[in-house]
Symmetry: C2
Subunit: 258 residues, 2 copies
Amino acid sequence: MSMTRWKLTIEYKGTDYAGWQRQKDDPSVQQAIEEALYGFCQKDIRLHAAGRTDSGVHATGQVAHFDLDYGDRPLTGRDLAKALNAHLREDSVSVIKAEQVDSEFHARFHAVNKRYLYRILQRSAAPTIDNGLVWHFVRPLDPDAMKDAAEVLLGHHDFTSFRASECQAKSPVKTLERLDVQWFDYDEHGGTEIRIYAEARSFLHHQVRNMVGTLTLVGEHKWTRHDVQEALEAKAREAGGPTAPPEGLYLEQVFYDE
Amino acid sequence: MSMTRWKLTIEYKGTDYAGWQRQKDDPSVQQAIEEALYGFCQKDIRLHAAGRTDSGVHATGQVAHFDLDYGDRPLTGRDLAKALNAHLREDSVSVIKAEQVDSEFHARFHAVNKRYLYRILQRSAAPTIDNGLVWHFVRPLDPDAMKDAAEVLLGHHDFTSFRASECQAKSPVKTLERLDVQWFDYDEHGGTEIRIYAEARSFLHHQVRNMVGTLTLVGEHKWTRHDVQEALEAKAREAGGPTAPPEGLYLEQVFYDE
């Protein structure tokens, strides 16, 4: 018996799932891929993801690992990805890459950085092409003010004010490496897309969405940069801003040491 | 009675429609907006678009005009767009802008330029987030070769080789102002997105999709730039390449003289 550990890089449209993690009654991304694995090798194989994503949250670079005993037959990453994707044809999940990795590799524990993207579409008219793929924000936003206030959250902090009550992390202290607000106006259509990139070794539950919701208060000039500072220092969830909806959030990339 | 001519700028996800034009049995974008207009003012009003788009083709900047007798009540473009969008909530159509225009304005006849975008996603795995929004191309493409060959089609030509048999245009001669091939690689995921921008005063039916299909032959190294030249000069549809699918095509913008 020769057990091989595989690393998958996965893209999915979160709209169609109740999140990454298996649920009793609702479709999950984990279940979709585990069923594809069963279809491929008729074995019940458990996937371990770099991080769970909530219902409606998308991924362009989720990572998961699993162990496969494929006997002595040769199997390339290319063939494995292709076989899994054949079983995922009816799903909004694609295996972008499959790589054989060291048997010690762990998608979650060995992740050294994760990058999330949050997309806001600020305009009056509802999104059509991007429906379910952006947070549609009707009221005007000042992205310059948001960019400025985001600096307050950078670095090593107790992020209790931006932590969901159901968060299971042992410590609320995290190091936020990047919180970058970019934006561009659409030509003819009016409207502005604001893209917020967040990077850290790990995040608290809802941390990105709570930081984004807070930054929109600044964008609306309801809060100042100083209010964000005070919210952070209060170390209490009720001091932070609202939770941005899931549809704007993308798990873009998980980084590992070589 | 005071009749006012209005210009609408319209975005839609073509996936959900049998195209712009009203159909007997299938949902169309035109019907969706005309029904919204009926909901707004209880009148049957006919829309005139800058150009019909086919089933599955998207628009971020379609333009249409219509006449409205709203009595002496004041009506701003902002209010009109908002009211129409309220009636379009269940549709994949949004009115981005509504402007009062001169009573001589004609969305189709006065258009001086139209810009289309064609998106190709070249990679093995099927698109999830962009499903229905790109042409998924599995085989490798050489975008440099495509960019080079695109130059052949620029300018004033008889485009019969790129014209659908059902095309109703009087003349196959058009002036292609721009055919620009751009591309970028996705970080982690592998895969390349190729974006082809086409601009002209007007296009023949399927012209953009037929030019794109032809350029992919060059991208696959099945054709050379010289083959594209010969196809153009043959002035026969069977000499041109295949028709690219509708899901990659976007009517981006229609230009008018001030």
